[in-house]
Structures are given as C-alpha cells and as structure tokens.
C-alpha cells in the first residue's frame, strides 16, 4: 500500500509537467494563466499524497487548504485584471 502511493506520486509529478508546454508557448495571455492554474490544482493533490506517504496527513491537509485558497484568489484577481487588457493573437 505504501508502494502504491509512492508510484502514484511519481506518475502525478510526470503529469504535472504536461501543462507546462502551454505555459511556455501559449498564443495568448489567457492560455498561460490557464496552464498555471492547472499546475497549481495538480500540485494540491500531490501535497496530499506526500502527506499520506510521510504519515503526517494532519499537518499536510492544512497546507493543502491554504494552497487551494491561494490558487483561487490568484486566478480571480488576474482575470479581473486581464478584463481591461486588449487581447493579442
């Protein structure tokens, strides 16, 4: 069971690198922000799985909740700012 969670964290940290392609060469600014949001919400799951592997889930779950709130506030604030910017292809 411990082995399963370790393999799962390896697979998940490979999956996290896939939206980085869209962050590096997205055509517009919104594509980059969407890729950054996807990376953040996958990191949230990786923190939980690392907490289960270490056996300290009571500490890591608070970090997870704070990270989720931070990611949400960042996306809302940047989308409020980008509403006034002219879109370029």
């Amino acid at each position: 069971m411990e082995q399963y969670f370790i393999y799962l964290s390896v697979v998940l940290s490979i999956i996290i690198f896939v939206p980085l392609y869209r962050v590096v060469r997205g055509p517009t600014l919104f594509d980059r922000m969407l890729g950054a949001s996807a990376i953040g919400s996958k990191t949230l799951v990786l923190i939980c799985i690392i907490g289960v592997v270490y056996g300290r889930i009571d500490m890591f779950i608070d970090i997870t909740l704070a990270y989720a709130v931070l990611n949400f506030v960042a996306v809302i604030a940047i989308s409020r700012y980008l509403r006034t910017v002219e879109a370029k292809e």
């Binding site: 939206p19 949001s37 608070d62 509403r83």
Partner: protein, 110 residues
C-alpha cells in the same frame, strides 16, 4: 491485510489520476482557448475530486478525512469558478472563438 474500502480507494484514486491525465492532454491538444477551458473546468475537477475522495476513504472516519471532504467541496466550487472567470475575461477583452473553415457563417456578438 487489505480491506474492502482500501480496494474502493485504490479504484477511485486510479480513476482520478486517469481523468487528470486526460485533462492535461486536452490543454495541449485542443485548438482554442475556450475549448481548453472546457478541458480544465470539467475533466480536471472530476479527477481532483476523485483522488481526494479516495484518500478520505482510505484514511477512515476521523478529523483528517473531514478536512479532506471540505477540500473536495472547495475544489469543486473554486476550480470551475476560476476557469469561468478566465473565459469571461477573455470574451470581454475581445478574443474570438475558433470555428471550422466552412461553418463560419454564424455571427456571434459577445
């Protein structure tokens, strides 16, 4: 000794990782910003909810699994709201949706 709920938790976590892989494949392969918003807003949210729910099922009944369920509810509200806000900002700032070449006839005003 593997119990029955551990098998259910392993099935839920594996399905969640599969859905997250499909979501991050969609953000690379789809042709437009709005369709990429579709991939992140639905498939990725379902994957995160399945993995966190499977972890709560693995941990049993205590305070930590209750906090995990709070995180599931918050992610289900926040991730779709964030992608909707990004799509609305893109539409208000004048980004055109993608059409096929032959079906360009429909005019759409934001």
């Amino acid at each position: 000794m593997i119990e029955f709920r551990h098998i259910l938790a392993i099935a839920a976590i594996s399905a969640g990782v599969f859905f997250m892989f499909v979501g991050s494949l969609g953000i690379v392969r789809l042709p437009d910003f709005f369709s990429r918003t579709h991939a992140i807003g639905k498939s990725d949210t379902l994957g995160i909810m399945l993995v966190l729910g499977g972890l709560a099922l693995y941990l049993g009944v205590n305070v930590n699994s209750a906090k995990l369920l709070i995180a599931v509810v918050f992610v289900a509200l926040a991730n779709s709201t964030g992608s909707h806000a990004l799509a609305r900002a893109a539409l208000l700032s004048g980004l055109k949706p993608w059409f096929r070449k032959e079906s360009r006839g429909r005019e759409r005003t934001p």
